[in-house]
């Protein structure tokens, strides 16, 4: 049985930057060990929402409202410690960003900056990350080769591996397959389904088919508003809102 504890809880989250509304009273729950998909067209606020979760949203004149509990802590409050938050909530970007160093050094970067020097600990973390991202078999013999030599799909899995090497509780993904070919995309989706056994995943994508394929529950954002949220199978078969129906049917977006 899966324990359905809520790990991320948004209570009327609103966000304005430079007087422009970005998020408007978002209310949703994300549960432990699920893949939660957030879909919506460009400018719908889905990435901004994701960036609020690990406290990396940056803009001028930001006005926040409501509360966003991540692992029990309100990350919108003043006294949140972003560094310790990001060790528990990691993130992978749309384009793979490998650092100009070896595969191994990429994997242990997050641990090194915590001051961990123990070779065995680093090695164990690197292996765990690679296995989680289903990349171990492909690179196990060349961990000390430059990471930039990997293919695009491998680089993105390395980014996931790098995030997982830190054993975060939550993994945030911002359109992780937008620049990848279908086979690489498939591999990453497989990795995500494995990962949710021990982790909670928030997946932002404007690829509705991907959300339908991999997410357990999902939300549809449109112009900063949460239009609909629920079980993915239900949202994609009997959407409650006309806008959701139009979006997943491809009538706009």
């Amino acid at each position: 049985m899966r324990t359905e504890t809520i790990v991320i809880e948004a209570r009327d989250v609103s966000l304005h930057a430079r007087g422009r509304k970005i998020l408007d009273n978002i209310v949703l729950d994300i549960r432990r060990n699920e893949i939660f998909g957030i879909m919506g067209p460009a400018g719908s606020g889905k990435t901004s929402f994701l960036r609020l979760i690990n406290h990396t949203f940056r803009a001028q004149d930001v006005v926040l409202g409501g509360a966003l509990y991540v692992l029990g802590e309100d990350v919108l409050s003043e006294d949140v410690n972003p560094t310790s938050l990001r060790r528990k909530v990691s993130m992978v970007f749309a384009t793979p960003v490998v650092l100009p160093m070896s595969i191994f050094e990429n994997l242990v970067y997050g641990l090194r900056i915590q001051g961990i020097k123990d070779k065995a600990v680093l090695r164990e973390a690197a292996e765990r990350g690679l296995k989680a991202a289903i990349l171990w078999e492909e690179v196990r013999d060349r961990l000390h080769k430059p990471a930039q030599k990997l293919s695009g799909g491998q680089q993105q899995r390395l980014c996931i591996a790098r995030a997982m090497a830190m054993s975060p509780e939550i993994l945030l993904l911002d359109e992780p397959t937008s620049g990848l070919d279908p086979i690489s995309t498939l591999r990453i989706e497989e990795a995500l389904k494995e990962l949710k056994r021990h982790h909670t995943i928030v997946l932002v994508s404007n690829n509705t088919k991907q959300i339908a394929r991999v997410s357990d529950r999902c939300a549809f954002f449109l112009m900063g508003e949460l239009i609909e949220t629920g079980e993915t199978s239900r949202v994609f078969t009997v959407p409650k809102e006309k806008k959701t129906d139009d979006y997943i049917a491809g009538r706009f977006g």
């Binding site: 990396t56 990001r86 990691s90 960003v97 650092l99 970067y109 997050g110 900056i113 915590q114 830190m166």
Partner: protein, 276 residues
Amino acid sequence: MTPRRAEHIALGLMVSGAFLALAILFFIIAVIMIKGLPHISARFLLDNPMDMGRAGGIFSTIVSTIYLLVVSLVIAIPLGVGTAIYLTEYTEEGKITKIVRFGTECLAGVPSIILGLFGFILFVIKLGFGWSVLSGGISLAIMILPVIIRTSEEAIKSVPQAFRDVNEVLGGSKWQGVTRLVLPNAAPGILTGVILSVGRGIGETAVVIFTLGTSLRTPFSIFDSGRSMAVHFYILAREGISMSNAYATAAVLVFSILIINVISYYLMHKFVEGRR
């Protein structure tokens, strides 16, 4: 005149201008080498000057030059790179960055003779450092600071923003991002700036003559006076002490600058290649 004809004339003028510039460079180098090279020997490089430079070598001036450059770099690199890090990583583009940038541009525009006089009044007289490697080093550091700031800034800006984002989402502080990702990746560019400024410093006379002094003794302490190669050449030629030794000194000087430029050109290329 037809457009086609105008095109030909313009092109002809531009090409001859470019070749003229190149010819002047070769002429200068050739004159100095022809007049200077015959007097250069191992003894010339390794002996100290005698009889005010009429006889002997230039060993003490080589030591003074290197000593002076090292001291100025030790001061200018941390200050310059630090300023560049502050401007690019720690401030939003705004009033403060504009003021600092404008200030460094102005500093770059100050005539070196003025800097020399300033160094003389402040370091040599007021602070009592006397004519010394220290006074000269600080004054020269002020002169090369704008070059180091500007090139470091460009080098730091060329490091992809995404590296900083990765550092951030993996729980790194800004300073960790700077030391572990930004500086290592900007290092070749920063080094190029440093070498460029060495090239400027090595040939500088106005600043140095006022602050390092003109002593022919080999400086040991940072408070010792000395005479750089450029100043030695200036004095030998200006006071007609020994034209052959002056040219030989100039040849060594030009040779050093040439080598430095070639190295910096090579590094810059490597840097650009590495970024691709």
